[in-house]
């Protein structure tokens, strides 16, 4: 029986469906086969898949091909799914025809953050986004990301996300919402939209900006307010103060030899911070052409020389890793490295009140109160000869250094940079602009582009206006699109109280939070990975963001709501974004290639903003410093302003400076703590402008005295199982006229609050896990890293060495460029399905991170140096863990990997005891979430999810190694350098972590291991670690006494 007798008749799927419906089992398959074999289907397929041409020639394969295609076609036809609108997304690397289960696809998108956006590649396994990588083509990423981007994929799968539209708390739907909004809008439209207010966060999406323009045209009286608790408001206002227009500075660290940071933590946040870290690091990296060949010193008495002193053997006495592999060809290394005498790196001065990761890498760090940075700026500007500025004394050691800093800057005119912090007042920014101008940096190390913000108003004023109008009864309908103002608005404005006076309140947000509780309507906001949008990067480059998956729930975007307000029909995000770009595109004919290329690349070519030439004016006056005790507000490094409060990965991420998780604290200096009579975990009450809040103290060496730093983003009451009840709410004492620093009183309460820290000992305790030298010392003594802990010579062991002849995997971590940002920790967690254990378990010492960033304070407790050290598995050639496992659950591969075999582990934990680096993590309880369904999606299918009772540790991302090896084997070649990048190395903004094949003399890692600065952690234990470090160098100004 055939479906149709006439081959030229078009194929009727419904008939096929009808035929197959109702048949079961063997009858079903028989019918299917008949269907597949029918001539009609075959003809249809011939038309549909003409590119199967090569198969036509071979009759057998032709038939097979038909059968397969027909079967799948028929099956597609009989599945009872609703017809989805066609929205074509374009993958970055491979076209859909190559779709293979088990092989991930990558799609370019971007994550809006910090008022800009960072270009990303999202990895999709079988249609599920599981991992975020940087987009190598995006100028703001260059392949790297920050930890917020890494963790954002978990937010997509968050089980606590809003899932439906709600009205008065009851389930409703989008259609009803549209109806309500439309009717409200129509009523207000009679008065040109008066009474309708829209509150958004910082918008930089061209599509959304265009929609607002339309709204303004149609409803001129509608007001657009902007408020974001940690937006770069002061940057914009500073530019307006200095230049008279809202511009965004774009920095070029690759051209800067001397950098002065005025409380600017530019490694941590800001739209370009990932790029800036990379550019800075590129000017920091030292590669010399001396190879690493540590000799056992003749005069040492440590007993490492058995018997008579061994003759100096150039090759044999080297570290075992070099032994069996040919040392890098000198020509190769010379091409990469410079002679030692020419080694040079940039120099950074940081003025800040609390230690930051930028301060950690400073060559000179000056501790001043946050409110005194303005005076520092004044003094520096005066020293640089900026007109109309007087020097001001802070009374700290920083004052004495200003002259020398200015001298250093002037010696590098046009190749230096003064950068003001995002949370310093606009006057400081203006001063920074004048200084850069005086130093001739404009156009070289700093350029000015049009503000990324589509509506660069003073956000505080905008907010105040809204609150004032709400209180005055002028607001009929309030649309809150994104953000959580009830939680984030400073306490003096009482947003919740004002909002209650509004007749109709509608909220678009990702979570059912403090704001949606007080709104009539709540619409779930779609996550950026599941919808269409567009955004600008730090230099203005636009990325058209494409989804990787259909919205999991009923999520909508800001644009989809605005289009209703604009009076346009209800359109999907895809239609809106595409429609906008189509409208901008003059020539319809080549829109499709433009669209496809933009989606594929992740950037819209030619949208980087052109810098403008401006001249800066000094501000009239600088806000005076806070007299007495100051409290400084800062967004938290893990949850930012509270938007990530329900993200387990971020909550559990140790904050670099304090190594705390799951809480915010009140940072004070050791002297302040002593004065207050408090220590860690003691609760203090902070009183400022008639309000108070209580928080736990954390003593931070290197913090300014008479100053405390508190973090936003905690103390929330609603928003998911993790968001509420953690930490204290700093917004309770924040005021609209003192957003970032306020005078306050601290008082001990006598209570205590348990905190969960992952590192209990903050100093190196007379050991030297981190080897440090100044650049000058390095030049004199290139082998400084091996002085304290010698390399154990090869000949001391009785065992013959194993010859690693194939691949020899190794890793090099450059401590000189590691900023301690912790992105590697989250990247590893995302890639390897690492569980979140919760505060109680972290407090017990059971956190599960496979790579950790150790942070040591060094030197004077009141003014210490900070050092960071990422510690993954060392993959010891002589692994202490392998020796003691009773069941051979940890073994060594022929390529040098120490392999953890989860299904063999019985959990005796001897391996953890014997690991001197303590990089092994044990599942003491069932930490992996076995039951929450939505979290199944975020897991990487290439990595086992571990159950209770097994040990786990860094595997050098063996799943990536194996997939590259398989690919290379299929192509009958060797794996090339750069094909395998572990998650940590890929995410690192400064590329401090490098992985590769040591047996390949041209690989980056082999060359890095040949550097004289290279050492192994605890190498004198003879573990022979494959993960090696490059010693940290500092570049202090010899004229300033203390570093």
């Amino acid at each position: 029986m055939t479906i149709g007798d006439n081959p030229s008749k078009p194929l009727d799927i419904s008939k096929i469906r009808a035929k197959l419906d109702g048949s079961k089992g063997p009858q079903y398959w028989k019918s299917l086969e008949e269907v597949a074999g029918s001539e009609e289907v075959q003809a249809f397929l011939e038309d549909e898949f003409p590119n199967r041409a090569p198969d036509w020639l071979d009759p057998v394969s032709r038939r097979t091909a038909f059968k397969v295609m027909a079967a799948s076609l028929a099956l597609a036809g009989v599945s009872a799914c609703t017809k989805q609108p066609k929205e074509l997304i374009v993958p970055y690397v491979r076209q859909p025809e190559d779709f293979l289960p088990g092989k991930p696809l990558f799609y370019a998108t971007a994550m809006p953050m910090f008022g800009g956006a960072i270009g990303l590649l999202a990895e999709s396994h079988l249609g599920r986004p599981t991992k975020i990588e940087g987009n190598p083509d995006h100028p703001g990423s260059l392949g790297a990301t920050d930890h917020f981007a890494q963790a954002s994929v978990l937010d997509l799968w968050d089980p606590d996300r809003s899932q439906t539209v709600t009205r008065y708390g009851d389930i409703s739907n989008w259609v009803n919402f549209v109806a309500a909004l439309s009717s409200a809008r129509d009523v207000l439209a009679l008065k040109n939209g008066e009474g309708l207010r829209i509150l958004t966060e910082t918008v930089n999406s061209p599509t959304v900006a265009d929609l607002f323009k339309t709204i303004k045209e149609n409803l001129p009286a509608v007001k657009w307010h902007v408020w974001e608790p940690a937006a770069r408001n002061t940057v914009t206002r500073g530019a307006q103060l200095a230049f008279g227009r809202a511009v965004e500075p774009v920095y070029h660290f690759e051209n800067a030899d001397v950098i002065v940071s005025l409380d600017s933590d530019f490694f941590s946040h800001g739209p370009g911070h990932v790029r800036y870290a990379r550019d800075w690091a590129d000017q920091r990296r030292i590669r010399t052409n001396i190879t690493h060949s540590p000799q056992p010193k003749q005069d040492r008495q440590e007993g490492y020389q058995a018997g008579p002193a061994a003759p100096l053997r150039n090759q044999a006495a080297t570290h075992s890793e070099e032994d069996k592999s040919p040392s890098p060809h000198p020509a190769q290394v010379q091409a990469e490295g410079k002679p030692l005498s020419e080694a040079d790196q940039n120099r950074m001065y940081v003025f800040e009140n609390a230690p930051s990761i930028t301060g950690g890498l400073a060559d000179h760090r000056f501790i001043v109160k946050a409110s005194q940075v303005g005076q520092i700026a004044q003094s520096l500007a005066a020293a640089l000869g900026v007109a109309g500025v007087q020097a001001a004394q802070t009374g700290t050691p920083a004052d004495a250094a200003i002259a020398m800093v200015a001298k250093d800057l002037q010696a590098h005119k046009g190749r230096c940079l003064v950068i003001a912090g995002d949370f310093q007042p606009p006057e400081v920014h203006a001063l920074a602009h004048t200084m850069n101008q005086a130093l001739g940096n404009a156009g070289k190390t700093v350029a000015y582009i049009e503000s990324l913000d589509a509506n660069p108003v003073d956000q505080v004023e905008s907010l105040k206006e809204l609150v004032g109008d709400m209180n005055g009864g002028k607001v009929d309908t309030l649309l809150i699109l994104g953000g959580n103002p009830v939680y984030t608005v400073p306490a003096d404005l009482d947003f919740a109280g004002a909002m209650k006076k509004v007749k109709l309140r509608m909220h678009l947000g990702a979570y059912d939070d403090e704001t949606s509780l007080l709104c009539h309507w709540h619409v779930p906001e779609a996550h950026y990975l599941e919808t269409w949008n567009d955004a600008r990067g730090y230099d203005g480059t636009v990325t058209i963001m494409q989804p990787l998956i259909d919205p999991l729930y009923d999520g909508k975007t800001v644009a989809e709501v605005l289009t209703i307000v604009a009076g346009k029909p209800d359109q999907s995000a895809h239609e809106l974004v595409k429609g906008y770009w189509q409208g901008r595109h003059n020539d319809d004919a080549d829109f499709t290639p433009f669209w496809q290329t933009s989606l594929h690349d992740g950037i819209v070519k030619g949208t980087a903003s052109t810098p403008v030439d401006l001249s800066a004016k000094a501000p009239g006056s600088i806000p005076p410093p806070v007299q007495g005790f100051e409290v400084v507000f800062r967004p938290d490094s893990s949850v930012w302003d509270g938007r990530f409060a329900n993200n387990g990965w971020l909550q559990e991420m140790p904050k670099t400076i304090t190594t705390l998780t799951w809480d915010n604290t009140v940072w004070v200096s050791p002297r302040t703590a002593e004065k207050l009579g408090v220590g860690n975990e003691d609760v203090v009450e902070i009183k400022a402008s008639g309000r108070s809040v209580k928080g736990a103290i954390w003593v931070v060496p290197g913090h300014a005295d008479e100053s405390a730093t508190i973090q936003l983003g905690y103390g929330r009451s609603r928003g998911g199982r993790l968001a509420s009840g953690i930490g204290y709410n700093a917004n309770a004492i924040r005021t609209s006229n003192a957003l970032w620093v306020i005078g306050a009183d601290l008082r001990k309460t006598g209570d205590s609050w348990r905190l969960a820290s992952v590192q209990h000992t903050q100093t190196m305790e007379e050991r030297e896990p981190i080897r440090i030298a100044t650049l000058a010392e390095y030049k004199k003594n290139p082998m400084f890293v091996n002085e304290s802990e010698p390399v154990v010579p090869q000949y001391l062991t009785l065992y013959p060495d194993y010859k690693y002849e194939g691949y020899k995997w190794g890793m090099s971590i450059d401590l000189d460029t590691c900023t301690g940002c912790g992105t590697c920790v989250i990247a590893c967690q995302a890639e390897n399905n690492i569980a979140v254990v919760g505060k109680i378990e972290v407090r017990k010492g059971r956190h599960m991170h496979w790579i950790r960033v150790d942070r040591y304070f060094h030197g004077n407790l009141d003014d210490p140096e900070l050092y960071f050290q990422p510690v993954p598995c060392m993959m010891c050639e002589n692994a202490p863990c392998e020796l003691v496992c009773p069941v051979a659950a940890t073994v060594h591969s022929g390529e040098g990997l120490n392999q953890m075999v989860y299904n063999r582990c019985v959990g005796t934990r001897y391996c953890s005891n014997n690991c001197p680096y303590k990089v092994r993590r044990f599942n003491f309880l069932l930490y992996s979430d076995w039951y929450t369904q939505s979290l199944y999606g975020v897991r990487n299918p290439d990595v086992t999810v571990r159950s209770r009772g097994v040990m786990e540790k860094c595997s050098y991302c063996v799943q990536r190694i194996n997939s590259a090896k398989i690919e290379a084997e299929r192509e009958e070649r060797r794996v090339r350098d750069g094909e395998i990048t572990p998650a940590c190395a890929q995410a690192c903004p400064t590329q401090a972590i490098v992985f590769g094949d040591i047996n390949d003399p041209k690989s980056r890692v082999a060359q890095l291991k040949a550097q004289p600065r290279k050492y192994g952690l605890l190498q004198e234990l003879s573990t022979r670690p494959r993960t090696s470090y490059l010693g940290r160098l500092t570049n202090p100004n010899s004229e300033i006494e203390k570093g």
Partner: protein, 472 residues
């Protein structure tokens, strides 16, 4: 005149003093009667102290079952272990219990080969003590693994994957050592029991006693041939068990000595551990013997001589342990290695310094009082001392395991181990289990070796009046 018809009056259970191993007025029959009465007397006649102790021990033992059940259900995280201290109470208890067992084997085997008469009253129950201590110890390797249902992978069985345990790991050596120890101890104890079980069968008062003892004694007739073979077997087993006294705890000490952790990685551990084991073992022997002899009126069979010998051995091994401690301290300084030096300094001055101070007090300072003879012969003091030493030896393992682990090479991974209630409950539970088993043993099996005491009696009488022949 048949024995069973004779009316034998048992001499009063008075301690004859530190010079004699047996009280006066004993002959073969009285010895047999005194020991077997403990077992064969009707239930109502059991001393009430035994009942009291049994109830307490039984209740405490339930803690073990509850803790183990909760542990299997939730996972090893119910204990206080973490990174870096991944071994906590479980391993401390394991080593402690195994150590305790060593005294039993030393008394049974080594003192047998050395022909020490005074061993005969205490060897049976100290061997039982070994068995139960090893049973307690053996629970911990299973309890403490993350996946205890797979703990059998540590055994060398031909798996379908042909994957054997990894023989370079000291934990596998432990498996062999401890299982050998358990097997040999069980055999030795059981073989030693056989003639006495026959005696029990002969003296049994009820039918079921007769049947059970009859089955257990494997058909012992007490013929000359039986005895001659028996002596050889017993000596051989003694010879087999003797090296175990040294080897088992040496292998257990390898768990630590083989690793690289400062505080563990030291060659003194094998002799130090063995000495410590014997030390704690004798302390436990005293802790058990002193109440038992009182409740069951056995003071004339377990005399002050036995107690004093135990005390002297305790003192002797305690001095070896003290030497071990001082050598550890000296070498850690002498090595010049910063990690070793820090390790010892941290033991004394670090967060667990109190444990170290207690340890020195219990293990070294207080036991020096045993030099004083008067105190050695004071039974109450000896009991107190034995408890002190037991605690001290537990603390020693605590200091070795936990204090060494909590601060090793990299300061960033230093941490603090805090035991949870389940840690304590499991420890208490095993103590309850041990005491329950010991109490049951004492009530159901002859706690003193009847035939060996008879042998000693015979030797003593021969010494006193060489010409006289005792007809029994």
């Amino acid at each position: 005149m048949k024995i069973e018809e004779q009316e034998h009056v048992l001499p009063p259970p008075v301690d004859p003093g530190p010079d004699k191993v047996i009280g006066p007025g004993h002959d073969f029959v009285t010895v047999t009667e005194e020991i077997s009465n403990v077992v064969l007397q009707p239930l109502k006649k059991t001393p009430k102290e035994w009942f009291g102790a049994f109830v307490v021990a039984f209740v405490v033992m339930q803690l073990l079952f509850i803790s183990a059940t909760w542990l299997f259900y939730k996972g090893v995280g119910v204990w206080g272990i973490m990174i870096p201290v991944a071994w906590g109470f479980a391993i401390v208890n394991f080593v402690w219990w195994i150590g305790i067992g060593h005294a039993g084997t030393l008394i049974s085997a080594i003192l047998l080969l050395l022909k020490q008469d005074w061993r005969t009253s205490i060897n049976r129950f100290s061997e039982a003590m070994t068995l139960f201590a090893v049973a307690c110890a053996g629970m911990f390797p299973v309890l403490h693994t993350g996946r205890p249902w797979l703990a059998y992978w540590l055994l060398p069985y031909p798996s379908s994957m042909w994957l054997w345990p990894q023989p370079r790991s000291p934990l596998i050596w432990d498996v062999f050592a401890v299982s050998t120890y358990a097997t040999v101890s069980l055999l030795f104890w059981y073989v030693g029991l056989v003639p006495d079980l026959a005696t029990m069968r002969d003296k049994a008062k009820t039918q079921w006693q007769k049947v059970i003892f009859g089955m257990l004694c494997l058909g012992w007739r007490g013929s000359a041939r039986h005895w001659s073979r028996y002596q050889m077997a017993y000596l051989l087993l003694g010879g087999l068990a003797t090296p175990l006294v040294v080897s088992v705890h040496t292998v257990v000490s390898f768990d630590f000595a083989i690793s690289i952790v400062p505080g563990w990685h030291t060659t003194i551990f094998p002799p130090y551990f063995v000495a410590g084991a014997i030390y704690s073992g004798f302390a436990m022997v005293l802790s058990l013997a002193i109440p038992a002899r009182k409740w069951f009126n056995l003071e004339d069979l377990i005399t002050k001589r036995h107690l004093e010998c135990c005390a002297k051995l305790m003192l002797g091994t305690g001095l070896i342990v003290a030497y071990g401690y001082s050598m550890e301290a000296f070498i850690s300084w002498y090595s010049g290695d910063i990690y070793e030096r820090f390790m010892y300094w941290n033991r004394i001055t670090g967060p667990y310094g109190v444990c170290y101070a207690l340890l020195i007090t219990c293990n070294i300072a207080l036991p020096q009082l045993l030099w004083i003879r008067k105190l050695r012969l004071n039974v109450k003091f000896l009991f107190f001392m034995s408890l002190v030493v037991n605690c001290g030896m537990w603390l020693e393992r605590f200091v070795i395991v936990i204090v060494s682990l909590h601060r090793d090479f990299l300061p960033s991974s230093w941490g603090i181990y805090i035991p949870t209630k389940w840690d304590w409950a499991t420890l208490a539970g095993t103590v309850g289990f041990f005491l329950t088993m010991m109490l049951l043993f004492m009530r159901t099996l002859p706690a003193i070796s009847i035939f060996e005491v008879r042998e000693v009696l015979h030797h003593l009488e021969k010494e006193e009046s060489p010409g006289l022949e005792v007809v029994s």
